[in-house]
């Protein structure tokens, strides 16, 4: 083998110096990234530009099948939704639909969800063309809905529709939603602005320095890129959820157990329920009316159904909750609809709150009637 001549031989690189340079560059890049704090990074999106915005907020537990994924960056979530690209027009009546996975539309195609059905059923309100946005997001937590509402208020809604259920009121569920966990500073800010400091205890006032570095945000950045790539598949196929042909039906037979969280008998302890978040949401909405709905639940016909309505609720707890909601609505002057028993048991899919297409239509018709009836208030 020919040895290189002295002239042609490349300069010898000192390995420790090379390693030190690489390390310094790496640390410096992280520091710059953290100092720059690109909080609006999530707003950089292919959605509504190269690919159409999504009909519902991104959520998916099997991304390769659903072309969708769950991520924590609320900005990125909204940037991927069609709501972020559509300017409010004077001749438009905007309805935001908040809520859990039943509103989001588990096992339903985008055109089969409550928001889509409402858009069909109520094309005109107050002489204006209606646009209905699905802002439901899986997980049961009023605080999660409050965050989404606060973020969505910039889109100038005319009405907020909020189907919810007892489980979303449970205090221990409030901060457990990934949307809250993933946006702790924003969550604390919203809770404080809404006059709710106590539920935000434990949430940081500012992100740690580590969390702002490139390394600290690697997962969020990877999710952001994957969300953009799945946008291509969403545009190409119109699919944003995996639709299994067979799924386990909602449970209808139960043990002889009438406990609800930490309580096993009446009365239902109101202090365990976060009613104040509902009040706060009404305050956050300001002049925009909020129509709160006690959403339909499965009323099971199976074993021990005299004790429990369904997997979530013993009868005593849910009955008391309905009474409390009625009282609170009257006292606080909420617009409130109790539609808990609207849908028959065979129109639920895999949980006690997920509806079939027909169940969704029934709910939409009832709500459409209420929206028409309330007129231009």
């Amino acid at each position: 083998m020919n040895q290189p001549t002295r002239e042609s031989r490349p300069p010898v690189v000192s390995m420790p110096r090379l390693a030190a340079k690489v390390l310094i560059l790496f640390v410096a890049a992280n520091l710059v990234f953290a100092a720059w704090t690109p909080s609006g990074l999530g707003r950089l999106s292919l959605y509504n530009r190269l690919v159409p915005g999504r009909e519902r907020l991104p959520f998916g537990e099997s991304p390769q099948l659903s072309y969708n994924l769950s991520l924590e960056d609320l900005e990125a979530m909204f940037a991927s939704h069609r709501i972020s690209s559509e300017q409010s027009r004077p001749d438009e009546y905007r309805i935001l639909v908040l809520g859990d996975s039943s509103v989001w539309g588990a096992l339903l195609r985008p055109e089969q969800t409550l928001a889509a059905k409402l858009a069909d059923l109520v094309p005109i309100v107050c002489g204006k063309r209606t646009t209905v946005y699905n802002l439901g997001y899986p997980t049961l937590s009023l605080t999660k809905d409050l965050l989404i509402l606060d973020r969505a208020m910039r889109y100038q809604p005319d009405l907020v529709l909020w189907p919810t259920t007892l489980e979303a009121f449970v205090r221990e569920n409030q901060l457990a939603s990934p949307v809250v966990v993933g946006n702790p500073v924003y969550a604390r800010d919203v809770l404080v602005r809404a006059g709710l400091s106590s539920p935000g205890v434990g949430l940081p006032t500012r992100p740690s320095f580590w969390a702002q570095t490139f390394i600290g945000r690697r997962r969020a950045l990877a999710d952001l890129i994957r969300l953009q790539l799945y946008g291509v598949m969403w545009a190409a196929t119109g699919i944003d959820q995996a639709y299994p042909e067979i799924y386990p039906a909602a449970q209808t037979d139960f043990e002889a157990d009438s406990s609800f969280h930490h309580e096993s008998a009446p009365p239902l302890d109101e202090t365990h329920l976060a009613f104040e978040v509902l009040d706060a949401a009404v305050r956050v909405a300001g002049h925009v009316p909020v129509l709160v709905v006690n959403e339909p639940i499965l009323i099971s016909p199976g074993t021990n159904s005299q004790l429990r309505y369904n997997f979530y609720y013993p009868r005593w707890a849910f009955d008391q909750f309905r009474g409390l909601m009625q009282q609170r609505a009257l006292a606080s002057d909420w617009e409130y609809l109790d539609l808990w028993n609207l849908v028959p048991a065979n129109d639920f899919t895999n949980t006690a709150i997920h509806l079939t297409r027909r169940g969704e239509s029934m709910l939409a018709q009832s709500l459409a009637q209420s929206i028409r009836a309330r007129g231009c208030r």
Partner: protein, 475 residues
């Protein structure tokens, strides 16, 4: 190769060149490669198969060496020591069965040592028969045939399923769970082609004499075990026997190459994989524009994936003092299909050129009534490309992919020939030349991309359906 395995391999190579770059180099390469054969093998549901397949890789390799090595090389003491060393390594890996922890270097729990000892004895007998046989030419031909037959079985879904059912019956496992994925033999396509190259070169009297350690290291060299490139033995041993390049140069150049490869594979290709065409998305896609997007994503993904792996292999090889051959050279920027195939999976095409295309061309053009040139080109191009297609899988779709490229190469050859004779303006301007080149690149890329439809989808019917979508003729 998973990212973790690549990083561990790189770390080991790095430590080795730092600590003792010039000592016992071949033994380091041999040891790491033999272990990698077992370590890289994915787990398989058929009991013990994920140990026996790597074992078979080594057994076939040693037997092929015994068959092809000249007697004066075979009988040296060094080769005896190497053989004993490989056997000891395999026994040590087998002995991990008795450790309380989960196996680290094998996909599953190795078989009992008594079975392993019996298998080693059988492999030794095979090597003995190979070297002592009265008719080595026949033995070599039979070995070639056996390698081809094994490839066909592994690559054909029906045959692979039959083989799987047979193995399941043999091991008393339920046949209802049989799947062609059960017979994933890591790197066998590449291993078989390296072995076939050595046998054919031995038959032609071109094979240089090599030691057992060099031969085994060449066949199962761990950086190129999974995805090539397919090196040539005579070139490989030059590097193994030659001096090492300066450590700093190797670290810098190899490290840079590996970094590029890791980025190509794990950032670009794995990202594109989310949107690349597959059997499911081919049915789901709505509209011709998005169908083209998925197809282009597939074309780019397969390039970045494969060339990324090649960069990693080449970079790791540089750290170990082995300059593995290049496999890709901007293939999608070539102005015609012939140049594309000169720059795509170059070591595979070179292999087929050497052992299929050139001999077939000589055969057809010689004799009393040689075949006309055009017909010869058609036959040789199509046959070669059909075989390259079926190297990927013995199915109708891979055959169609091969035929697509064979016919494309023939068409380009005829077109080039026509243009050479009829091009009225050989001294055309730079601008016109540039335009023709650009159009050529565009046309070639799209022709190749359309060919990937057959490669990505499992059946001709689905491929045709997707082609119709591409032209907006299907929903």
């Amino acid at each position: 190769m998973a990212l973790g395995q690549i990083l561990v391999g790189a770390a080991l190579a790095f430590l080795w060149i730092l600590i003792f770059p010039h000592r016992k180099r071949l033994y380091f390469l041999l040891t790491s490669s033999v272990i990698a054969v077992f370590w890289f093998q994915p787990g398989l549901p058929i009991r013990g198969l994920d140990f026996w397949l790597p074992f078979a890789t080594l057994a076939i390799t040693v037997a092929t060496w015994a068959l092809t090595a000249p007697a004066e090389v075979r009988l040296t003491r060094a080769n005896g020591v190497t053989a004993a060393f490989v056997v000891a390594l395999v026994l040590l890996l087998g002995a991990t069965r008795y450790l309380p922890a989960e196996p680290l270097l094998t996909a599953g729990r190795p078989p009992p040592l008594t079975w392993l000892a019996l298998a080693l004895a059988a492999a030794g007998l095979l090597a003995f028969v190979a070297k002592r046989g009265r008719n080595p030419a026949l033995a070599m031909s039979l070995t070639l045939a056996a390698l081809v037959a094994t490839l066909v079985v592994l690559k054909n879904p029906t045959l692979a399923m039959w083989a799987d059912l047979g193995l399941r019956r043999l091991t008393g496992q339920p046949v209802t769970h049989a799947s062609i994925a059960d017979l994933q033999w890591l790197g066998f396509s590449y291993i078989a082609f390296r072995l076939m190259h050595t046998i054919r070169d031995r038959q032609a009297g071109r094979l240089p004499p090599v030691d057992l350690g060099e031969f085994v290291t060449y066949v199962v060299f761990f950086p190129s075990l999974v995805a090539g490139p397919i090196d040539r033995l005579e070139r490989f041993i030059q590097d193994v026997r030659g001096p090492l390049p300066p450590a700093q140069d190797a670290v810098r150049n190899g490290g840079w190459r590996m970094a590029i490869g890791l980025f190509k594979k794990f950032a670009v290709a794995d990202g594109l994989a989310l949107i690349a065409l597959n059997a499911t998305s081919a049915q789901q896609v709505r509209g011709a524009v998005w169908a083209w997007v998925l197809l282009y994503a597939y074309a780019l993904r397969i390039y970045f994936d494969f060339s990324g792996y090649t960069d990693i292999a080449i970079g790791l090889g540089q750290w170990l003092g082995v300059r593995l051959p290049e496999n890709f050279d901007a293939p999608y920027l070539q102005p015609n299909l012939t140049q594309f195939w000169n720059r795509w999976h170059m070591t595979l095409t070179q292999w087929f050129r050497t052992y299929v295309f050139n001999p077939l061309t000589r055969r057809l053009r010689s004799g009393a009534r040689p075949m006309p040139i055009a017909a010869t080109i058609l036959v040789t191009q199509v046959v070669t490309m059909l075989l390259i297609g079926m190297w990927h899988g013995v199915t109708w779709n891979f055959a169609l992919w091969g035929a697509w490229h064979g016919l494309g190469l023939f068409a380009h050859n005829r077109w080039s020939d026509y243009m050479r004779r009829h091009d009225a303006a050989p001294g055309q301007s730079h601008a016109l030349h540039g335009l023709r080149q650009a159009l050529g690149v565009l046309l070639t890329f799209n022709y190749v991309a359309l060919g990937w439809v057959f490669f990505a989808l499992p059946s001709p019917a689905q491929s045709l359906g997707f082609m119709l979508k591409l032209v907006g003729a299907a929903g």
